[in-house]
Amino acid sequence: MTDGANAALVEVLLRHADDNTILGQRLGEYISSAPELEEDLAIANGALDHIGVAMHLYEYAAEIAGGDASVDGYSMRRNEREFTNALIVEQPNTDFAHIVARSFLFGVYQKLLWEQLSRSSDERLAGIAARALKEATYHVTHARRWVVRLGDGTPESHARMQTAIDEMWRFTSELFEQPDIDSVLIESGVVFDITRERAKWDAAVDDALEEATLVRPEDPYQATGGRLGRHTEHLGHLLAEMQWLQRTYPGASW
């Protein structure tokens, strides 16, 4: 591959790794606070899957980038402006409905992404994606079940689920942005045009909302910037906590 293509691939890998790191961190925060023990287990499971994928992606990126690039360096020593995760994954655990809405709306996107990338001409990436696809399929099934149960549960759960969907909605279009740098990789079949998957996302989300007796939000405002490292105010606090030990004791190994 050319240097340009290598640089683009590192960016793509970091982008998806960051999504998984940040969502894994958010889910990790919630463990021991779930409505029942079974759900603590499921949340922990999701956190583990996301962190696992993140590590594989960072590892691959570090190998391509060379030098002193590393999994720990990428995750624990980059700044807020260097993280290129989507804004939705950094949104806080406001209540259980928000956690479910975030996992569901993002999960449907991620499942489509891994389906695409499991056909990548880059075998290593295809392998990571194929494994992640199995996990994402489970995450979506699990989250969807809660969207439906809460939406079609009690008046209170219905209202909370609708609010959560409404609040997460403005962070969903960003998931289907395709940064320009990807074009060189699209040509070689390493990555694919994600914008083409939008209709499938709409169909899957609409289907769940309907079964859940929820209304598809009409908020025309859609946030953007995550892929360029321009985040909501939440990410800085998340990183301050996540990176604290590494930042406090520079040079130590753990």
Partner: protein, 313 residues
């Protein structure tokens, strides 16, 4: 007059065979088991908090993943033990209520705070280590479901202990600050770990009866000695010192002898006045209360759709 039931029960215990859920058992045996298994389950669940306290601050993604997996295991142990308790005719909701209202205890060790990353390693090494000593003994417990739960749980606890020790080895080989962190954690956790085995045999109200019933197979003091003997050499290998000036190897008996536990502290923490007692129970209650609307929704949904399914059929 001894009933026929009682005779069968006594013979089963004497023959080292298992009592199963459908078997007749004396009420006192049943109640002792419920109390002990529930307390064990609560300990697993409350134990998620001090360790969960470091999930967001774990120093690397790998350490974070290992810690999450451990906390997840503890949740699984809790579920598994609640199921074992349920075979004795109590519901999980009842047991949970006993925990929230303070009528049930859990292991006092979790009433201490986790103040540094080294605490996570030390908990794995010392706390899971102590749990293993206790649980290996309980694999031989006379109540079948409890004994079987212990077999499964012990395997995972051994992983936890090893992973904890691995964290500590890394700190021991690290910077001065990391070694200080390690020593400080050992200083804070050593005595509470020894307290995990409970009061002296002479002070322990339940021990004798539990040993007759073969729920317990070794006494508190014997288990504690076994633990000290296996743990001290591991500490020496780490290059730490134990916060006990009386700790020494006794050539004659082949045992590590240790100083007297601060029993005032032990009883204070057991009865509710430890550094984190109030926080641990409050966190659990808050999670339970915050989740009420979710559980209600799940029930309402199930009822609604059960009715629909019935209509169609």
């Amino acid at each position: 007059m001894v009933s026929e039931h009682q005779t069968t029960f006594d013979e089963t215990i004497a023959a080292d065979e298992k009592i199963e859920p459908r078997d007749w058992m004396p009420d006192a045996y049943r109640n002792t088991l419920i109390r002990q298994i529930a307390q064990h389950a609560h300990s697993e669940v409350i134990g998620m908090q001090p360790e969960g306290n470091w999930i967001t601050r774990a120093p690397t993604l790998l350490r974070k993943a290992i810690l999450i997996a451990k906390v997840q295991d503890e949740a699984g142990h809790g579920l598994y033990l609640y199921s074992a308790a349920e075979t004795l005719g109590v519901s999980r909701d009842e047991l949970q209520e006993m925990l929230h209202s303070g009528r049930h205890k859990y292991s006092s060790i979790f009433n201490y705070p986790t103040l540094s990353w080294a605490d996570i390693g030390v908990i794995g090494w010392l706390v899971d280590g102590a749990a293993i000593v206790n649980q290996i003994m309980l694999q031989g417990a006379s109540y079948g479901p409890y004994a079987r739960a212990m077999v499964r749980i012990c395997k995972e606890e051994s992983f936890h202990a090893r992973q904890g020790y691995a964290i500590l080895m890394t700190l021991a080989k690290g910077t001065d600050e990391q070694r200080q962190m390690l020593q400080d954690a050992v200083d804070r956790w050593w005595w509470p770990a020894l307290m995990m085995f409970g009061p002296h045999d002479s002070e322990s109200t339940h021990t004798e009866q539990s040993m007759d019933w073969k729920i317990k197979r070794m006494s508190n003091d014997d288990l504690r000695q076994l633990y000290v003997d296996q743990t001290v050499p591991q500490g020496e290998y780490l290059g730490i010192t134990f916060p006990d000036p009386d700790l020494h190897f006794d050539e004659e008996s082949g045992h590590w002898r240790f100083g007297e536990i601060d029993w005032d502290e032990f009883w204070a923490v057991v009865t509710g006045d430890g550094p984190m007692n109030r926080e641990r129970v409050a966190h659990k209650k808050k999670a339970w209360e915050d989740g009420a609307w979710v559980r209600e929704a799940a029930t309402a949904y199930a009822v609604k759709h059960a009715a629909e399914t019935a209509k169609v059929a």
